[in-house]
């Protein structure tokens, strides 16, 4: 009863919120087109407080890169890429920003097949595989139900065959949904925000300096202890950095 009363109320608030968001996005677009990137960035950030999408992260990244904030731009491009892997414009801008970073990281070149698979797996929406699993399950159950209508044993066998195929597809979709969800919720990748960052041998200030990293470099977080992260860079070197020097993607 309580829910039934709340529902239309929520709808009204939802519509109002959507109108406000649309206005903000339009204003941000106009500001960006006029070249006032800081204003555009503030508006997009306001939208990003409670909403998210690859396009939004991409636009925020663009604002940062126009304001010459390279590490922030890289961070947001990485977030956008995580939501839609293989998006061509995001990848192009990210590559441009990476070219401006100090640390040269030679990452393993990905095969075209790999990126195509990533793109296909990611699709437009992180929940698409879960929805496909639901549809496939519904279809195979419907096919199973249809067996009671047919008369001949042959057609019944065919239907059962289809239903089992549908069940297999359901299983595959569920696995893909799990894989996608885990890649989205992966908290192990981070971007360095500090201009110059000493990577230490122990999670304590003043310990041996292992190597120096610079803003915009992407690293893997291995574990955390107190206010320190143990990180690994692309060439396999490992060390400890303070929490505030990183931003997890």
């Amino acid at each position: 009863m309580k829910n039934a009363l709340l529902l239309p109320l929520l709808c009204v608030f939802g519509l109002q919120a959507k109108a406000a968001t649309d206005a903000r996005v339009a204003a941000a677009e106009a500001a960006y087109a006029a070249g006032t990137y800081q204003e555009a960035l503030d508006l997009y950030n306001a939208v990003a407080l409670d909403l998210n999408s690859a396009a939004l992260q991409y636009n925020i990244g663009n604002c940062h890169s126009k304001l010459n904030a390279v590490p922030q731009a890289i961070l947001h491009y990485e977030r956008a890429l995580r939501l839609t892997p293989g998006a061509e414009d995001i990848q192009a801008n990210l590559d441009r920003m990476r070219a401006l970073t100090v640390d040269r990281m030679t990452s393993v070149p990905t095969f075209t097949l790999g990126t195509t698979w990533d793109r296909w797996k990611a699709g437009a929406d992180m929940d698409q595989w879960a929805r496909r699993a639901l549809w496939a399950m519904l279809m195979s159950c419907a096919l199973g139900a249809a067996t009671v209508l047919v008369r001949t044993a042959t057609s019944r066998r065919v239907l059962i065959g289809f239903a089992l195929t549908g069940l297999t597809i359901t299983g595959a979709c569920t696995l893909l949904a799990f894989s996608r969800a885990s890649s989205i919720q992966d908290g192990s990748q981070a971007i360095i925000m500090s201009t110059n960052l000493d990577v230490l041998s122990e999670p304590r200030a003043g310990t041996t300096k292992q190597f120096v990293l610079h803003a915009g470099t992407k690293i893997t977080v291995l574990r955390s202890q107190g206010d320190w992260y143990e990180v690994r860079i692309a060439n396999g070197a490992v060390g400890w950095v303070p929490v505030e020097s990183l931003e997890v993607i």
Binding site: S53, M97, G144
Partner: protein, 583 residues
């Protein structure tokens, strides 16, 4: 008193013969001006009229004044009052390097023991104000070498970028005979320089006096200068060498001189620059046109643009033609008919474009506009060709495929980030992936449960359908009740035939269904056979009688019992048999 008289008388005694020989000896010292600019020349002239023989001259003290030239002595005779006389002049050209007041001391002329002293002269030199550039340059050059000097002057003191200027080199010489030994190059950074052809260099017929000195003057060189950028541009001094006074025995001495340097303020062309202004300054006309107006496809045709007038013609680049698609062109050929004279650059520059139409048809090249700056008014003028039309005709003999245009690769000029995404950003509230939440698993389980339920129901129904006689028996009472309802209706409406038909069908049908028989098989014998076990045969008896009664009454208007009673009995019988266990 006595002494003074003696001196006077002595003086009279000494001077009397002089005065009688030349009644007046006059001595004066004069300057041509008492105030002058620093660096400019002042001429001091000491004049002695009728100097007697044996006159000696003690020159004046000049202090810190510099002698530019002199002293130069001149002596000429003259006749005054019927007597022969003479005038002696000694001339100095003086200057000062610093501003201030200078005193020229008294000059003393002594004749024998007597002497005459001139008055001192006070000169004031002031910091130079707006002395004309050439003038001060001339005076400075005169200070460097009063005998041979060369002055470089420009005909304008400020100009627009691209405006034409004439630089004139004027030689001032006090030598009788000289020839050029070496002419240095002009170092004029930021200028386009062209020599003006002067032909034979001749000295001006009349000499010119500069600060009291006589010079023969000749314009030895003229240059056309076109500034290429704005700001203060400088022309460095030019080194010149002259061989002076050659004779049969000697080659003459070499005198090296240097012209003055010149500074020029060059201004940017005025704002409100038209888009088609590409730096032409002067006065221009434009003639344009095709050589022919009809041409075969793929055959070249000449388009000529001819700029003529007085302008920096050599610096006009080929204007970019706005050619319609289907035309091919090459870099234009430039034909210059330009003369550089003392009045500047004159003539014409013609651009000959070779156009090749690749498609047949009437083609129109949009009007080409060209703006130039008129330096006199500082205003822009625009010339236009007007639309240029040409007709291209198909060549019937051309081989197929010959009209393919040449292709070029697209050049990447810069690499900026790509633009933001606009429109629908596909915004959504952030949440955990669906696969981690319960609606997914509920959604997955629901169809399975529904299917299982469906299959259970279906199986039960199948089992029931498999048992048809049991089905009939189960439904017998329901079917009979439907007929009895019809009977009740007929009873109310007092319809005999319908009532008995309905009661008969109810009894017959119920019995047939109940014992799995055909309706035609229902007769008294079978009723007894199946129902004798009940109620020691009374039920069978009643059932058979009632059935007979209703069958009889259906066709004949004979009724042994009231209809209500028949009805009640039928209901009671069917109820009793239906609720009895199956036999």
């Amino acid at each position: 008193m006595c002494t003074r008289e003696r001196i006077l008388s002595l003086l009279a005694l000494v001077l009397l013969p002089l005065l009688t020989w030349a009644q007046e000896i006059q001595v004066s010292a004069k300057v041509d001006r008492e105030q002058a600019d620093v660096g400019s020349a002042v001429t001091l002239t000491l004049t002695i009229v009728n100097p007697p023989r044996g006159t000696s001259l003690d020159p004046p003290a000049l202090g810190s004044l510099a002698i530019v030239n002199g002293p130069v002595d001149a002596n000429r005779g003259h006749i005054a009052n019927g007597r022969r006389g003479s005038v002696f002049t000694r001339t100095w050209v003086l200057t000062a390097t610093k501003a201030g007041t200078y005193t020229i001391g008294p000059a003393t002329v002594s004749v024998g023991n007597a002497s005459i002293t001139t008055d001192p002269i006070t000169l004031t030199f002031v910091r130079g104000q707006d002395s004309p550039a050439a003038g001060s340059a001339l005076e400075q050059a005169q200070q460097r070498n009063p005998d041979l000097l060369c002055v470089l002057s420009l005909n304008k003191s400020k100009a627009f970028v691209g405006e034409q200027l004439i630089a004139t080199y004027t030689l001032y010489s006090r030598y009788g005979n000289l020839s050029s030994a070496q002419t240095g190059t002009t170092k004029a950074n930021g200028f386009w320089v062209e020599e003006v052809e002067l032909g034979q260099v001749n000295f001006e017929p009349a000499p010119r006096a500069v600060n009291g000195l006589q010079y023969r003057v000749a314009v030895i060189r003229k240059q056309l200068l076109i500034p290429q950028r704005s700001g203060k541009l400088k022309i460095d001094p030019v080194e010149l060498a002259y061989r002076v006074n050659p004779s049969f025995f000697s080659q003459g001495a070499v005198v090296e001189i240097r012209t003055n340097g010149v500074e020029l303020q060059v201004n940017e062309p005025p704002a409100s620059k038209p888009a088609d202004y590409i730096g032409a300054v002067g006065e221009l006309q434009l003639n344009s046109g095709f050589k022919t107006h009809t041409v075969m496809v793929n055959e070249p045709v000449d388009l000529s643009l001819r700029f003529s007038g007085k302008a920096n013609l050599r610096l006009i680049d080929a204007p970019q033609l706005d050619l319609p698609v289907g035309f091919e062109t090459y870099d234009p050929k430039i034909v210059d008919r330009i003369t550089v004279s003392a009045s500047g650059m004159n003539g014409s520059r013609e651009f000959q474009y070779l156009l090749i139409p690749r498609h047949a048809g009437e083609h129109e090249i949009p009007a080409l506009t060209f703006s130039y700056l008129d330096p006199a008014t500082g205003a822009y003028h625009t010339l236009s060709t007007g639309p240029l039309r040409i007709t291209a005709k198909d060549d019937p003999n051309a081989p197929a495929g010959s009209s393919a245009p040449r292709q070029h690769d697209v050049k990447q000029l810069a690499d900026d980030i790509r633009y933001i995404r606009t429109g629908d950003l596909g915004l959504h509230v952030e949440h955990a992936p669906l696969v981690y939440r319960w609606p997914f698993w509920t959604g997955l389980a629901l169809p399975v449960l529904a299917l299982i339920g469906l299959l259970f129901v279906h199986r039960a129904r199948q089992q029931r359908l498999a048992d048809t006689s049991g089905m009939r028996r189960n439904n017998a009472k329901r079917v009979a009740e439907r007929y009895l309802k019809d009977a009740a209706t007929a009873l109310r409406n007092n319809e005999r035939e319908a009532f008995h038909t309905a009661v008969g069908k109810a009894l017959e049908g119920f019995f047939a269904d109940r014992f799995d028989l055909g309706v035609a098989e229902v007769d008294a014998r079978r009723i007894h056979q199946h129902l004798d076990g009940m109620d020691s045969g009374r039920t069978a008896q009643a059932y058979a009688e009632l059935l007979a009664e209703s069958q009889l009454a259906r066709y004949a208007p004979l009724e042994n019992k009231p209809r209500q009673q028949v009805y009640d009995e039928a209901v009671a019988l069917i109820e009793r048999i239906g609720s009895s266990p199956r036999s």
